[in-house]
C-alpha cells in the first residue's frame, strides 16, 4: 500500500497494493473454481520452512504422492515473507493464492477463505479435529500433536546439583534452579525472538488450565483478563530473573542460539515443545537429556493438562481451481501411514496409534502425552477458543519487558491493554 514519492517507503506494501489493483483477485468469490480438464494438474502448497522441514524434505515427502497420481504435480512453495502467516495475505491480495497452506490454523478471519472439510469422511479422524473446529466446522486437518509443556533437562547437571527427582511444583522447580545455579549451571535456558513469551506460555499451561480450564473462551468473553490471570506466572518469572536463574542478557539470543546453548551443556533446563526431540536426536553431546511435564502450583494435580497444538495443520483454499487434486493431496498427507510417520519423525511430533521408531527421549514424550489428563490450547489458541490474531506476539513483547525493567503488573496491564484494543 503506498509509497509515495518522497518516502518511497515500504516497497512490499506498495507492491501489494499495486497488485491488489491489478491482480485477478484471490478471494473465494472472485476466482473461477474449475478443475483443469485433461493434462497434469499443478497443486501449489505453501509450507513452513525450518531447520527440520527443509525445501528438500518437502519435495521428497510429496514424491510418492506424485508417483501414485501421475496427473498431479505438487509445487512446494516457501514463504516469501517472514513466514507463512505473512506470505499468505500477500499472495491472496495479489491474486496468487496457493491451493493448500500448511502451518496456519483456521480462525474467524482465515476460515472465510478456506474450504470446509467437515464433510470429508477422513477429516474427523485426524488429530485434534474436534478441538480445532470453528463454529462446528472443520477447516484445518493435521498430522499429529505437538506437546508444548515440556521441560527438557540435562541429567548430568541434575546429578551434579543433587536434584534427585524432576520437580513437580513451581516451588520444587525454583528449589532445583537454586541447586543448579550453585552447581555452576545456568538453571533455565531462555532467549529472545519469539522464545521468551512462548516458553512462559508453555510452562504455565498445565497450572493455568487447572485454574482456568476454558481460559481462551473466558478471556474472549471478557469474564477474566488475560494479563491479570497470568500475573502470578509473570511474578515467578521476574523472581527468576532477579535471582539469576535465567540469563539477564537472554534477549540477545535467537531461538537457535538458545537451543544450541542447552545442547552444548551451558544450561540445565530448557522449556520447549516436542519438536525439540528432533534437534536433540541430531545433536552431538556428551550428556543425556531427560524430559518432564511442566510443573504446577502446590495442591494442583500433577501432571496437569498438557499444552497441545496441531502438528503440521493443512487447509485447502476455497479459491483453488484444483479442488479435487488439492483435497486428494491433503488427505494423503494426513492419512497415508508413511507420509504421516515421516512428518511425525521429521519434526518430533506424535500421534496416538502411529508406531514409529522412537529415540529414548521421544519415548518419554509419548509417555507424557499418554499420561496427560487432557490437551489444552495454548496462548492464542485454536478453533472456537481463538484470541485475536497477534496475541502471542503481543504477549512475547510484553514478557520481554520483564528483562528491561517492567514490573509483572505493568506487563499484565500491557497485555490487557493490547487485548482491549483488539476487542
Amino acid at each position: 500500500m503506498r509509497s509515495p514519492r518522497p518516502s518511497l517507503a515500504l516497497p512490499a506494501i506498495g507492491c501489494l497494493l499495486v497488485l491488489t489493483g491489478c491482480g485477478g483477485g484471490g478471494f473465494a468469490g472472485d476466482s473461477q473454481a474449475q478443475q483443469s480438464e485433461g493434462g497434469p494438474v499443478s497443486v501449489r502448497m505453501l509450507v513452513n520452512i525450518s531447520p527440520n522441514l527443509t525445501q528438500t524434505y518437502w519435495d521428497d515427502l510429496v514424491k510418492p504422492f506424485e508417483q501414485a497420481n501421475p496427473g498431479i504435480d505438487v509445487k512446494i512453495e516457501a514463504p516469501t515473507g517472514k513466514g507463512v502467516a505473512d506470505t499468505l495475505p500477500q499472495q491472496l491480495a495479489a491474486g496468487n493464492a496457493p491451493d493448500v497452506v500448511e502451518t496456519l490454523m483456521a480462525d474467524e478471519t482465515l476460515a472465510k477463505q478456506m474450504l470446509d472439510l467437515t464433510d470429508q469422511p477422513w477429516a474427523k479422524d485426524t488429530p485434534l479435529a474436534e478441538q480445532a473446529k470453528l463454529g462446528g466446522r472443520i477447516y484445518s486437518v493435521g498430522v499429529g500433536v505437538q506437546a508444548q509443556s515440556l521441560v527438557f533437562y540435562n541429567r548430568a547437571a541434575f546429578d551434579k546439583a543433587g536434584v534427585k527427582e524432576p520437580p513437580q511444583t513451581f516451588d520444587d522447580f525454583e528449589s532445583a534452579m537454586g541447586k543448579l545455579k550453585d552447581a555452576g549451571y545456568l538453571p533455565l535456558q531462555t532467549g529472545g525472538d519469539f522464545l521468551t513469551g512462548l516458553q512462559l506460555l508453555q510452562l504455565s499451561n498445565p497450572s493455568r488450565a487447572q485454574t482456568h480450564p476454558t481460559w481462551q473462551q473466558d478471556v474472549k468473553a471478557g469474564t477474566i483478563k488475560a494479563g491479570e490471570s497470568l500475573q502470578p506466572y509473570l511474578e515467578r518469572y521476574q523472581g527468576w530473573i532477579d535471582k539469576g536463574y535465567v540469563d539477564k542478557n537472554a534477549l540477545g539470543m535467537k531461538y537457535a542460539d538458545a537451543e544450541t546453548a542447552f545442547l552444548t551443556g551451558k544450561s540445565a533446563m530448557y522449556v520447549m515443545g516436542s519438536w525439540f526431540t528432533a534437534s536433540e536426536a541430531k545433536a552431538d553431546k556428551d550428556f543425556e537429556v531427560g524430559v518432564f511435564p511442566a510443573p504446577v502450583d502446590k495442591g494442583q494435580t500433577y501432571p496437569g493438562p498438557q499444552g497441545a497444538t496441531l502438528a503440521a495443520p493443512y487447509m485447502v483454499l476455497k479459491s483453488t481451481p484444483n479442488k479435487d487434486a488439492a483435497l486428494k493431496l491433503v488427505q494423503w498427507l494426513v492419512t497415508d501411514p508413511e507420509a504421516v510417520k515421516s512428518q511425525l519423525a521429521q519434526d518430533g511430533n506424535f500421534r496416538t496409534g502411529v508406531e514409529r521408531e522412537f529415540t529414548p527421549l521421544e519415548k518419554q514424550v509419548q509417555e507424557i502425552l499418554d499420561n496427560a489428563p487432557s490437551g489444552v490450547p495454548q496462548g492464542e489458541g485454536y478453533g472456537d477458543a481463538t484470541l485475536p490474531k497477534g496475541f502471542n506476539s503481543a504477549w512475547n513483547t510484553e514478557v520481554q519487558g520483564l528483562y528491561v525493567g517492567k514490573s509483572p503488573k505493568e506487563v499484565a496491564e500491557g497485555v490487557d491493554r493490547w487485548l482491549a484494543g483488539r476487542s
Binding site: 506494501i13 472472485d30 515473507g81 490474531k389 513483547t397
Partner: protein, 310 residues
C-alpha cells in the same frame, strides 16, 4: 451547383510557427506518456489505494472490507506502540543521517584523488552496501548477540557479556551503528562526485593565500559541496525513516519491542496481525511525515546555500 473560385471559402493557412508548436506538443506528450503512466500506476495508484484502505477495516483476507471512516486515524493517534516506534524512528533517522554524512564526507575526503590505493579503498567502503540488509542483520547479530563472536571472546577473557542486543539502549545504538556501517558507502560515492565539481582554481587560490587545510575545507570545499550535502542529507533521512529489513534480521524489534521502527510496525500490523486497514493509516501518516521532513530539510539547506553564495 458548383462553387466558383470566388465563392469558395478562403483557405486559411496556419502559420508555420503554430504547426511546429502543435507538432512539438504532440511529440512531448508522446515522450512523457510512458513515464506518466508508470508514475501513475506505480505511485499514484498505490497511494490512492493506501488512502482508501486506511478508511476501511480490511484484514488482508476478506473481499469486502467495511468503511470505517477516520477510525483508524483516531486509533493510531492514541497508539502507544506507534508513539514508541515514532520516537525510535526519529532517533534512528537523526543519528543515522549524522553518522552517514559525517563518515561519508570524511572518507570521501580521504579517498579523493586518483590512485590505485584510493580506488581499492572506495570499493572496500562501498562493499557493505552491496549486501542485502537481511544478510547484514543476521551477520551482525551473529557477531554481537549474547552468544555471538564478540561476547564469546569477552567472556573467554573473563569479562561480562556486553548487552549489544539485549538492552534497549544498547540495541538502539547497535542498530544505528550497523545501519551507518551498511550505508555510508553510498554517501562516500555521492560526496566524491561533489568533490569533483569543486573548482580546483579556488582551492589553489586559497592555498596561495596561505589558508590551512582546515581553512580550505571550511571556507572553500564545504560551501562548494552545498548541493551534495543537501542531496545526501535528504536521501539518508528518507531512507532511514523507512528502516525495516535490518530491524527484522538484527533485533526483530526487540528487546521488548524497543527497536521497532514505524515501517516495522506497519508491516507487523498489516500482515502479522491482519490489520491492513490500520497499517495503511500508519503508512499514510509516515508518508506525510517523511514528505514534510524532506521538504523542510531541503528548504533549510537551500536557504543555507543561498546565504553562503551571497
Amino acid at each position: 451547383m458548383t462553387l466558383t473560385r470566388e465563392q469558395a471559402p478562403p483557405v486559411v493557412r496556419k502559420p508555420v510557427g503554430e504547426r511546429r508548436r502543435r507538432h512539438d506538443g504532440l511529440a512531448t506528450t508522446l515522450m512523457v506518456a510512458p513515464a506518466t503512466v508508470l508514475y501513475v500506476v506505480m505511485l499514484i495508484v498505490p497511494v490512492g489505494l493506501a488512502l482508501y484502505l486506511s478508511l476501511t477495516d480490511w484484514d488482508g483476507f476478506s473481499a469486502d472490507p467495511a468503511f470505517v471512516g477516520a477510525a483508524n486515524y483516531v486509533t493510531l493517534l492514541d497508539d502507544p506502540d506507534l508513539r514508541r516506534a515514532a520516537l525510535v524512528t526519529l532517533l534512528v533517522a537523526a543519528a543515522g543521517t549524522a553518522g552517514l554524512n559525517l563518515l561519508g564526507l570524511g572518507f570521501a575526503l580521504l579517498v579523493n584523488g586518483a590512485s590505485r590505493a584510493n580506488t581499492f579503498f572506495r570499493i572496500v567502503l562501498f562493499y557493505p552496501h552491496v549486501l542485502s540488509a537481511l544478510v547484514v542483520g543476521f551477520l551482525w547479530s551473529a557477531i554481537l548477540g549474547t552468544s555471538g563472536a564478540v561476547n564469546n571472546l569477552v567472556t573467554t577473557w573473563g569479562g561480562a557479556v556486553i548487552p549489544f542486543l539485549s538492552d534497549p539502549a544498547w540495541a538502539t545504538v547497535t542498530m544505528i551503528a550497523v545501519l551507518v556501517w551498511a550505508g555510508f558507502g553510498v554517501n562516500v560515492v555521492l560526496y566524491l562526485a561533489g568533490l569533483q565539481a569543486v573548482p580546483h582554481s579556488l582551492v589553489e587560490a586559497a592555498r596561495i593565500d596561505g589558508a590551512t587545510r582546515w581553512q580550505v575545507f571550511r571556507n572553500v570545499t564545504l560551501p562548494a559541496l552545498g548541493p551534495s550535502v543537501t542531496v545526501n542529507i535528504v536521501l539518508s533521512l528518507v531512507t532511514l525513516l523507512k528502516t525495516y529489513d535490518l530491524v527484522v534480521s538484527l533485533t526483530a524489534g526487540g528487546p521488548a519491542g524497543q527497536t521497532q521502527t514505524v515501517a516495522y510496525l506497519i508491516l507487523w500490523n498489516s500482515f502479522h496481525d491482519a490489520r491492513l486497514g490500520f497499517g495503511s493509516a500508519q503508512s499514510v501518516l509516515l508518508m506525510l511525515v517523511t514528505a514534510a521532513l524532506a521538504f523542510v530539510v531541503t528548504k533549510l539547506r537551500r536557504r543555507g546555500e543561498l546565504a553562503v553564495h551571497q
